[in-house]
Symmetry: C2
Subunit: 365 residues, 2 copies
C-alpha cells in the first residue's frame, strides 16, 4: 500500500494507475469525500496531524503526496524510518520561491532575475535593481496564480506589497516570453531516469487551460532534459518532478518546479507509452520505469468551473474525458479532456472543435 498525502484529482489518478500494478493507495486529506476517496480509502485529518500522519506511514510502505503545500515540518517529524518519496528536501525547495531560485542558480539552470522583498525598503531596491514591469509573488503557498500580482509602476508595486498581506515576497522580472513549456521527468530509487516530451502550456487567469505535447523542437527538449536531470540528481530524487519554463528566443528560463505529478502531464494517460502517474508509482516503489515516449500528438484541455454536457464532449471523435467527481464552483478544476492525433495539425483542428464545446472563449495560440 502507498500512502498519499492529499486526495485531490492528482491523487485520484495515482490511485487509478496503482490498481493495475496491484497497488492500492491510502490517502490522508482534511476534506472528507475528496476526489480520490471515491476509489480508495482515505484518512480524514489535517495535513499537520502528527498522529494520523504516523498512522498513514505505519500502514504503508512508502509515503508520497499529490500537492506541494504539505507541511515539511510534519513530514520531518515522522523520523528517519519513514520512506518519503519524492524527498522532503525537494518539497521544501518547491515551497519557498527564494530557495527555489537559489537552487536554479546553484545548478546553473537559467531563470528570471529576482530579489527577495519583505519591506518598502527592499522593494525600492528591487525596483531599482530589476526594474519594471515585474511580478510580486508570496514566497510560500502560491498556486494557480494565487498570491501574485503583476506590477507596472512603482505605485502598483507598493500597493501590491501591502495587498499581499505583509508576508515575505519574491520580486521577479516580468519576462516577455514567446510561450510556456514544462518538462516532466521521473527518477526511480534505482537511479533510472525518463524524461517526457515537452508540454506546451497555455495559461489564462493564472490557471493552466491547454497543454499540447510534444511541445517543442529537439533543441528545447535537450535543454529541458538537461536542466531537469540536474534537479533529479541534486536531490537523488525518486518520483515525478515537473519543471516549468518560459521560452524566449529559443531559450528556456526556469519559472518554477513542482515535486509531483502535474496538470500539464495529464495527456500522458492516453498520449504516452507510460503515464506520469504510473511512472511516479514505479519510481517510488523502485520498479523499472516505463517508456515516456509520446504515442502521437496529444492535447489536454482543463474543464473549469462547470462541466460541459458529457454527451457533447464524447461525441467529438477520439476525445477522452476525465471527470474528477468534484462539485462545480467558478474556476475550479473539475476535469480534463485528452485528444491524441497522428499529426500536430490534426490534433490542433480537433482541439479547436473541442474548445468550441468546452471553452469557447479560449484562443489557442
Amino acid at each position: 500500500m502507498i500512502g498519499v498525502i492529499g486526495a485531490g484529482q492528482l491523487g485520484r489518478m495515482l490511485a487509478l494507475a496503482g490498481y493495475p500494478l496491484g497497488q492500492q493507495c491510502l490517502f490522508l486529506d482534511p476534506a472528507s469525500g475528496a476526489p480520490a476517496s471515491a476509489l480508495a480509502p482515505q484518512i480524514v485529518a489535517p495535513f499537520t496531524d502528527a498522529a494520523r500522519l504516523a498512522q498513514l506511514a505505519a500502514r504503508t510502505e512508502v509515503l508520497t503526496f499529490d500537492w506541494e503545500n504539505v507541511s515539511v515540518e510534519s513530514l520531518r517529524a515522522l523520523g528517519r524510518g519513514v520512506r518519503i518519496r519524492p524527498p522532503v528536501a525537494a518539497l521544501a525547495a518547491a515551497q519557498d520561491r527564494v530557495r527555489e531560485k537559489r537552487l536554479f542558480e546553484q545548478l546553473a539552470i537559467p531563470t528570471t532575475r529576482w530579489q527577495a522583498v519583505d519591506s518598502p525598503r527592499s522593494l525600492q531596491r528591487a525596483l531599482r535593481g530589476i526594474g519594471l514591469p515585474a511580478v510580486l509573488k508570496t514566497r510560500r503557498l502560491g498556486y494557480d496564480g494565487k498570491g501574485q500580482a503583476v506590477v507596472r509602476t512603482a505605485a502598483e508595486a507598493m500597493q501590491a506589497l501591502a495587498g499581499l498581506g505583509g508576508v515575505p515576497l519574491l520580486y521577479e522580472e516580468l519576462v516577455p516570453f514567446d510561450f510556456e513549456v514544462s518538462v516532466i521527468a521521473a527518477r526511480s530509487t534505482r537511479g533510472e531516469v525518463v524524461v517526457y516530451p515537452l508540454n506546451r502550456n497555455l495559461h489564462a487567469g493564472g490557471i493552466l487551460r491547454l497543454t499540447r505535447a510534444p511541445g517543442g523542437g529537439p533543441a528545447l527538449q535537450r535543454q529541458a532534459a538537461r536542466y531537469v536531470r540536474r534537479l533529479l540528481e541534486h536531490f537523488r530524487y525518486a518520483g515525478v518532478l515537473t519543471l516549468e519554463f518560459f521560452v524566449r528566443r529559443g531559450r528556456l528560463l526556469a519559472n518554477e518546479m513542482a515535486p509531483r505529478v502535474h496538470n500539464s502531464g495529464h495527456w500522458t494517460i492516453e498520449g504516452a507509452v507510460t503515464s506520469q502517474f504510473e511512472n511516479h508509482l514505479r519510481a517510488i516503489l523502485g520498479l523499472p520505469l516505463g517508456a515516456a515516449a509520446a504515442v502521437g500528438h496529444a492535447a489536454m484541455i482543463n474543464l473549469l468551473g462547470r462541466m460541459p454536457p458529457r454527451e457533447r464532449v464524447l461525441a467529438q471523435a477520439g476525445v477522452h474525458l476525465h471527470d474528477y467527481g468534484k462539485q462545480e464552483r467558478p474556476g475550479r478544476k473539475l476535469g480534463h479532456c485528452t485528444i491524441v492525433a497522428a499529426t500536430a495539425r490534426d490534433r490542433d483542428a480537433r482541439v479547436r472543435a473541442l474548445l468550441a464545446v468546452v471553452d469557447p472563449e479560449l484562443k489557442m495560440r
Copy 2:
C-alpha cells in the same frame, strides 16, 4: 451509479473505466473481497438473491454483468422497470449452447455442425449424423474449457456422456481449424455500433493464453463485423458483445458468443483508441461510443496461476501490467500483460521476450 452483477477482474476493469467518465460501479457478488471490491462498493450476496438484486437495481441507473452465468430468472423477476443491459435475451441465448447454435443458424452465421444430446440414443444419432472426432459440451454453465470433452471414438463419446453428469449436452463436430479469432463490438442504446479489429487467440488447456490484434486481414474482418452486427441488431443490443470463431481456409465458423466484455479484448485498454470497458459503459449509458480503432499492433498475455516477479515484467520495454489482486491458485487468471508496438513483427518479437519471462512453455503459433 452502474450496477454490476459479478465483481471479478472484468468488473474491476469496468470500474476503472467508469471513474474517468464520472461513473461509479456498485457490484453484487457472493465472494467477499472480489477483485472489483478493492476499488468500488460491493454487495456480498448470491447471484440469485432477489432482495439484494432489487436493492442493487434500486440504487443504480442501469444493471449490467461481468460474466454470463448470471441467473436469467432472477433478472427477469426484477420486472420491466429495471434497465438491464445487455438485454436478458442475449444472456439467455449465450447460456444455452443449443439456443446459441439455433440463433447462429437463424441469422445465417456459419457455425459448426451440432446436435443436442441427452441420452445414449441421441448420442448414437449424433455419432451417425456428425461423426468423429467431436466435442461434447454441457448445454449450460461452461467456461474456460470446463464442462467439455473431446471424443475420438464412439466408446469415448459414451464415456463422456456419463462423465459429464447426465446433464443436457451439445455434440459438435471437432473442426480442424487454422486458428481462432474473436470479434468485439459495441452497440449503444442509440443504435450506434463500433467493431474492434479482430483478436487472434491462442488457447491452451481450454484457457485463453495469448491474443494478438489486429488479428486478421480485411476479408475476415468484414465477415466478422457482418456477423456480429446481425447479433447486435437481432437483440437491439446495448453494451459490448463478443463473438468467437474458428478460421478455416479463410472462412469463419462461429464457436460461441459472450454478451460482455471479454478477455480477448483486454489489449484495447492500451491498444485501441477507446477500451472495450469504456465503450461498454458508454453503450449502456446511451453516450456516444468512442472509436474502436487500434493504435498499433497489440498483444495480451494472460498471467495464470502464479504472478511472475513484477520487476521482471516491467523491465520489458513497453509492457503494461494488469494485476487483478487475486490469490494465486493453479490455472487461475491473476492478471495480464499488454504490449503495443508499431509493427506486427516488433510486437511478436516482444511477445516472445515476454513469454520467456511469464509463460516459457507457451509456443506462439
